[in-house]
């Protein structure tokens, strides 16, 4: 309770700082005040395009995240099992990590339609994060546990879930925690560059074109909330899986 009060107090403090700064600047074109942003948000929500934009961007970004997660896990398992794959994937993962999102986005625009751009970009962001974490989890699994499993003739299912999955899940959870926020940031950035029709990125781009700073802040707030909701939801699902595995 005390912790929540402190968090709420901190948020209120920074909103007040923001309000004071906006009043000091005096031009909503340069810095929209929290009151103006809240007002604009209330106007935006009932609009027809609001929900469709939210669903469009969330759907694409989550599709990219899930695809990237699957690829990252498969790559990590292969690397954990065979050194050949570890060597093979290592430069690829390093390259994907190092290349700026903007470069990928512009290149991807040549290959695919702008509507699917955020799927590919978020996939590329999720793969190295999930790969690195899950691979680390696999490497951290004590090889002596395999000997234990052999001695006790543990069944393949229990061996997979109890010995391996239970060790890897905390690393997977970290990957989810890291990747979701990154996917939202990069996915929306890709949408701003590609401006697919009906996306949140397009709305952000339009707010820049028409100098609607309050819109920019309002949509940014929506992105933060969507990022938090999806992150919490995915972490909750991961925690449920961890608890089930814990109790085998």
């Amino acid at each position: 309770m005390k912790k929540r009060l402190i968090t709420a107090g901190t948020v209120v403090f920074w909103i007040l700082v923001w309000q004071a700064a906006a009043m000091l600047v005096g031009k909503s074109l340069l810095l929209a005040s929290p009151v103006e942003v809240a007002h604009r948000l209330i106007e935006l929500i009932p609009e027809n395009t609001f929900l469709s934009s939210v669903l469009f961007s969330t759907g694409k970004i989550m599709l990219g995240f899930f695809s990237g997660t699957v690829i990252g896990v498969v790559f990590a398992v292969l690397s954990g099992k065979f050194v050949f794959f570890e060597k093979l994937f290592s430069p690829l993962i390093t390259a994907v990590k190092a290349v700026p999102v903007a470069s990928f986005t512009i290149l991807a625009l040549i290959w695919i339609s702008s509507a699917d751009l955020s799927v590919l970009i978020t996939l590329l962001i999720a793969v190295p994060v999930v790969y690195s974490n899950v691979f680390e989890g696999i490497r951290a699994t004590d090889p002596k546990l395999k000997v234990m499993a052999d001695i006790f003739h543990i069944s393949p299912f229990k061996r997979f879930v109890g010995v391996y999955l239970s060790q890897i899940m905390p690393y997977f959870r970290s990957a989810v925690h890291l990747a979701v926020g990154l996917c939202w940031k990069s996915g929306v950035a890709a949408e701003v560059i590609g401006t697919p029709k009906g996306s949140i990125g397009e709305k952000l781009y339009n707010s820049k074109i028409y100098l609607e700073t309050a819109d920019l802040f309002a949509w940014t707030f929506v992105i933060i909330i969507l990022s938090l909701i999806t992150e919490r939801l995915l972490l909750l699902l991961t925690d449920i899986a961890v608890k089930r595995i814990e109790k085998l």
Binding site: K144, V147, M148, A149, G162, I245, E246, K247
Partner: protein, 193 residues
């Protein structure tokens, strides 16, 4: 078929840890392997278990259902105590409340192993080996890290559960050796038996 080691030798680099060890272990009773730290007790036990190959010589009779308490606990840290025990028994529903109570782990069934103390982990590792109900049980210092009262309780429970079974117990504690009785093999350093 009795567990038998024939002229087994094991070296790690230039260090000969076990040299021409031969012994037939009595069936359905406890054999205690004793000796100072570093004299090769755990190495010998690993070879008897079949998880470490001797450089020369043979081990026979360890194809039976074997269970073990290893030198380290080798527990799945992110699983609960009960899940660690369930790993080694058929099915997924069995409850181990009575067994846990008997070794002083009552109320710990659903606790993740990573949250247990060293002594509690050791007792979980021992219980895992006991609930597996093996034909041959290899115990590598199974009571280390336990306070004297707990140790006594756990030793009594272990003795009761292993009565009439083939047990190979490695320890450097004379009290443990005397408690379990049976044949005592004293490993010496340097390596002679």
């Amino acid at each position: 078929m009795a567990l038998r080691a024939d002229n087994i030798t094991k070296c790690f680099g230039d260090n000969k840890v076990i040299d021409s060890f031969t012994h037939e272990f009595a069936e359905n009773c406890t054999t205690v392997i004793m000796g100072a730290s570093g004299c090769g007790k755990s190495t010998l036990l690993s070879m008897l278990m079949g998880v470490l190959a001797p450089d020369s010589g043979t081990v026979t009779g360890n194809q039976a259902r074997t269970g073990a308490v290893f030198q380290e606990d080798r527990l799945c840290e992110n699983l609960s105590v009960q899940s660690n025990l369930r790993l080694v028994v058929p099915g997924r529903k069995r409850s181990f409340d009575a067994e846990l109570e008997a070794v002083g782990l009552g109320g710990c069934a659903d606790k993740p192993v990573r949250e247990l103390s060293g002594g509690m982990k050791r007792r979980t590792a021992l219980l895992r080996a006991l609930v597996y109900e093996p034909d041959i049980l290899f115990l590598d210092e199974p009571f280390k890290g336990l306070d004297s009262d707990t140790k006594r309780t756990v030793m009594e429970y272990c003795k009761k559960r292993t009565a009439g079974k083939t047990v190979i117990l490695v320890t450097h504690d004379k009290e443990e050796a005397d408690f379990f009785g049976g044949e005592i093999i004293e490993l010496q350093r340097p390596l002679s038996y």
